[in-house]
Each structure stands twice: as structure tokens, then as C-alpha cells.
Subunit: 193 residues, 2 copies
């Protein structure tokens, strides 16, 4: 998605060969017009997937997921990273190691909101090693629901998460795939899937 | 806002006289059409406030804040509840006790995204004692920015947060104010401001 690639190229800050900071428009301050366009693009990519629910992970996936859900006219659901009083005890859980936070956490989804027959479109802001996405897929499988697509805003193509999921047969579509970052230069993969 | 009050009355679950569960449409699973209408209503209420930025607190404020920001055509910013690598070290911070989680946490906002001259509209999902909102106001004051309005989805009118902020002169508008909950019966304040 050229709009997102241009935004990353002009405003994103790469540090070394692995860290990309996009907190100025994606995961701390949010450019809502860009995210709305991203939601529209995910709708274009997945409108024939048969999705019945949009699922993401708190907190930086939420903004993209709700704009996407608006285009689909579907409920959005976000996996919680801690056991909240307002989620209750009847949850599907999976453990996940977060490199951003440097620790393992437990991801939870109330059993009330994922059911057999649900066709889930996963939306998230980043894909690198794929840990968070795999934990969410585990939860969706526990519920007997089906993953019909995985939409990622920014994929680090030089890390194994996206390829491993595609090799397993998942329909992973990323709006921008970064092949390499070096000395502040960011190279995008030309065909974004 | 009748649409929200009706949703709370028909789907919300009150437990005892203090707990209201709205995880089926507001803070775990999200009814995006309702939240979009709430964003539109916040725009109607605050369109003359001169706001230059919409600020909320992760994670359950994010969905409402981004729909609101879309109507205002303004950036949304969310305060983080932990020190993220992708936020950096240059932050404004305030401590806040969360009754939902039963512990104190530190709220952070990057110094890059709040500046003197910013006119902030605070948006959040709940107001009870007002702890989270007061911590956010502290951060906004540290930045030398100004709070021009506070928009709350659901205010527990029987707790002191909203009244204390109005008494200090803040323009607090809540889309639904609950006066009491008892035996599953939820009573709304007739005039929602």
C-alpha cells in the first residue's frame, strides 16, 4: 500500500537493522485518516473471506482493527494482555513472549465472544517473529473457530513470522513488507503479498 | 445519548451496586457502529472547543478516541500504561491506581506529541473515581498543554470523579450517566451533562 510505504519512508525512524519506530502515526500517536484508509484496504483484500469477526491484540492493533471492522460492518474483538476483572474468568488463554516489552505475557479472550463457526480475520499492526499472531491463532483454535485471513500493517520481511504462517497455508496480507533496514534506509518488498 | 443508554440497559450486566460489565460492546468486543455514533456525538458536543488533539488512555479508550478523532480530523494520542521501547525515554509520566486491575501503574506520553499550545480533548470509556483522568490531566499540564474538554462514554454518577472535575471548571460531558445500579436495575440521570 503506497500510502503506508510513503508514510513509513518519510516519517518512520529505523534504528540499526531491526527497530522501526512508527509511534508518530501508528502506535502511540495515530493518524486516523491513514488508518481509515488501511481499514478500507483490508476490506478490499479480505472482503470475500467470509469473515464474521475482526480480532486483534491490545493495544496497538485496536485502532486499525476498529476501522477495518467498520468497513466490514462486523464486531471487533481484542485479546487482552492481562486478566481483567471486566473480562471474567471464563477465557481462552495463550502465552506469548513480547520482544517490545522483554517479557512473557498471557493473552486472554472471553469464551463468550469466540465460538465454533466464527470465521476470524486477524488484524495487527506489526508482524516480526509471529509470536503474538501464533498465540492468537492458538486461542482461535481453542474456541473451534477458523482463521480466514491475517492482515498486517507492517511486516518485517527479514524476520520469519510471515513466511512461516504463509507456509502453513494462512492467507497473510501485509500492507507494507520491509525487506531490510540499514543506516536509516528502508527497503520495501515490491509485491506486497 | 439514548442509543448508548439503550445498549447499556439491554446488554450491560450490573453486578451489585458498583460493577457494570459492558465487555460485549465497549471494552472487549466492540460494536463499531455504536462507537462511530459515539464519536459523532462527541464531535457535536465539543466541535467548538478548539481542540487540536484527541487524547485517551490505552487500551479501552482507543476505539472511541479514534472514531472521535476521525470526525474532528485530528490526530489521536494514547497514553501508555507501561514504558514501551517504541515510546522512548523522553516521556511525561503520572502514577495512577487502577481499581479494575487492583494495582498502581505509570501512565506515559512521549514528550514529542504533547506541546504548549496543544488544546486537548480527553476521551475515555469510563469515569468513576476519576483517577485515570486526573493522571492524564497531570501529564497534559506537565506538557504546558490545555484541557479543553473531557468526553466520557459511561460515567458512574454515584462516584465522585465527574463532579470533582466539573467543580474544578472542566467541561465534562458523559454520553450516559448512571445514577444507581441495584439488583440488575440501572438508573440513568435524565440530563446527560
Amino acid at each position: 500500500m503506497k500510502l503506508l510505504e510513503d508514510k513509513i519512508a518519510t516519517e518512520g525512524i529505523s534504528v540499526g537493522t531491526d527497530i522501526l519506530k512508527v509511534d508518530m502515526f501508528l502506535n502511540h500517536q495515530v493518524d486516523v485518516n491513514l488508518l481509515d484508509e488501511m481499514g478500507k484496504e483490508f476490506y478490499r483484500l479480505f472482503k470475500d473471506s467470509g469473515a464474521t469477526k475482526i480480532v486483534t491484540i491490545e493495544s496497538s492493533g485496536i485502532a486499525i482493527a476498529v476501522f477495518t471492522a467498520k468497513y466490514f460492518n462486523l464486531p471487533a474483538l481484542f485479546a487482552k494482555k492481562a486478566n481483567h476483572k471486566n473480562v471474567g474468568n471464563e477465557v481462552y488463554s495463550a502465552k506469548c513472549y513480547s520482544f517490545t516489552h522483554g517479557k512473557e505475557y498471557t493473552m486472554n479472550v472471553s469464551k463468550k465472544y469466540l465460538n465454533p463457526g466464527d470465521k476470524v480475520l486477524i488484524i495487527d499492526d506489526f508482524m516480526a517473529g509471529g509470536n503474538a499472531c501464533n498465540a492468537l491463532i492458538d486461542i482461535i483454535n481453542q474456541a473451534g473457530a477458523e482463521v480466514v485471513g491475517i492482515g498486517i500493517a507492517i511486516e518485517k520481511g527479514f524476520q520469519p513470522g510471515g513466511k512461516a504462517l504463509r507456509d502453513k497455508g494462512y492467507n497473510v496480507r501485509s500492507l507494507a513488507i520491509i525487506d531490510s533496514m540499514n543506516d536509516g534506509k528502508i527497503s520495501f518488498r515490491s509485491d506486497d503479498c
